[in-house]
Amino acid sequence: MSEHRESAEQRPNVTGKRPGFLLLEVLLGIVVFSIFLGAAGVTLLSGQQGTMMGGDRVRGTYAALRGLEAVRSIRHKSFSSLTAGQKGVRIGSDNKWEFNGTSQVFSGGYLNAVHVNLITANLARITSSTQWTFWPVRSGMTTLTTDLTNWTATGSVANWSSITLEGAVTPGGTPLFNRIAVKGNYAYVTSMSGNRIYVFDISNTAAPVRVANTLSIGKPAYGIAIRGDRLYVGTDDSNEEIMVFNISSPATLTTANQVATVNIDASPIVYGMAFRGDMLIATIQFHGSFPEVFAFRTTTGGTVTQLGTLDIGANVYDVAISGTGAYIATDADSAEFRLVNITSGGNLRLQGTAYNFTGTEDGRAVAISGTSALMGRARGTGISEVSMLNTTLGGGSPPAANYYEGSGAVLDIDFDSTGCYAFIPTQSVARAFRVINFKNIALPELTSWNSNATYGQARAVYYDFVRDRVYVATDTSFLVFRPAAGTGPCS
């Protein structure tokens, strides 16, 4: 047997010596690595750029927000400071924001400008824009917009210790006005006779004018309340105890504008009406085995849906709401003043103890200011017709010295916006309208006004806190009172 010996040239290369082949692979590796590196580098830079641009946008947005807050601060000082145009903002020497130039550079190189656009006399639109340019590929702009209004305007209550009859309208006949409600430039007044609903244009309080003269509902009207563009009127009609009108055009209001009615069984008289949000509380004169307090859900369209009722066994003449409590004035001889919990309209319930006033004269009016209430009663020879109560005790408090002699039935009461002046119409010609200091527990009278044969006895009152005026309705007339200029004992 001969060994097959291969020559060196024929033997395979077991040591892996393959000249030129490693170089190829190295080159291939470099190319692949370069591709990866390039792709990775690009994506890396892209990601980094995204991060930086995101950060720029956040800082730019905060700079824009700062511009808006600066303008808001300027508005708080005075809405009239907001003049139209492009402005910059800075902190002034008084450490408050002020306008300066047409733009401002904030730290970090963010250029901010605010643009003020006056849409109406009381509404401004503010646009705050911030720009930045750091690199050609790293620039941007962000914008924030908001609306500001003149709600911060401060009104004032003048000196109601001195009053002047500013305007008067006597429609004719003896309407015997009952209640007043105001919306915008119009006052709505219910009455027992005549047209029963009267509308007065009070845009010029020195010269109020009766409008909607043809409106007549043919039945005595008592309670009144307004929500949105809907007027709710309480009557003694046997089928339409509550009538709802669309008052979007008050000057031409007619019965054709009636949009809804509520029929309450047993044909009561709806005396008191008050809103809590969209819940209407109505109180009626009819007792026996029948509820006297009703809760309704209303809509902006005027739809009325009954939620619940409460039978308290007495006529209820007036209601005033504070929080979740409805304070009612009744003719119960030992419970003229009561509190109804109205947290749930479907679950009305009496709360606390009733208050028994001296004598048996009916409770006819109630008004709430803070944690105190004033109640007006029918005239009595041995009583004071106005009483002050503490509402925090849930129903009343001992009378102490909180009485005021009305010398006539007090059918309505109202307060000014500070809760200091109480306005009291009385069923008397002498001192028919009175103003008392409610902050003084002794209830001192500040001033009074004598009616005469022309105007008759006072029956209803309404304080217009937008105009700082008081409207008083008498047997025959609608009156406008204004205070004296300057500050009074309540300022």
Partner: protein
């Protein structure tokens, strides 16, 4: 016979591939971080604009109540960047009024409820809070 030992470049190539994959993964991660930062900045801007939208509605509501305390509320407004809406005003008269409003910009919704202690002679706000659902309004 092992071909691996006879092909040292193969190892290098594999190494390059692995390194490249790792580098790519890191780059992609950083890219996604950058995208996330972009999206976050967008969301911050949108959220701020939505909040300014709800403040716009509250501004208008306060003026509305100052002008007409019998106003009912319940309206929506189209703004330059988004919309806002106001629920029916709570309370009645001069005291204890409530305003609930929401502002929207793109997909962001912000809600604020306000309790006003009084309107006149000057507005006094008792509560102003950012909420996810209204508690002051029904």
């Amino acid at each position: 016979m092992s071909t691996l030992r006879s092909r040292p470049g193969y190892v290098f190539l594999l190494t390059v591939l692995f390194v490249g994959i790792i580098a790519s993964a890191a780059a992609v991660t950083l890219t996604m971080l950058g995208l996330a930062m972009e999206q976050t900045s967008q969301s911050i801007h949108q959220s701020m604009q939505a909040y300014e939208n709800v403040r716009s509605c509250i501004e208008r509501a306060l003026l509305d109540l100052r002008t007409d305390p019998t106003a009912a509320g319940d309206y929506s407004i189209t703004l330059p960047y988004g919309t806002c809406s106001v629920e029916m005003y709570g309370g009645a008269g001069n005291y204890n009024r409530t305003i609930c409003a929401s502002g929207t910009y793109k997909n962001i919704v912000r809600m604020v409820e306000v309790q006003v202690r009084r309107l006149y002679p000057s507005v006094r706000i008792q509560i102003w809070r950012d909420v996810t659902s209204f508690s002051l309004c029904n």
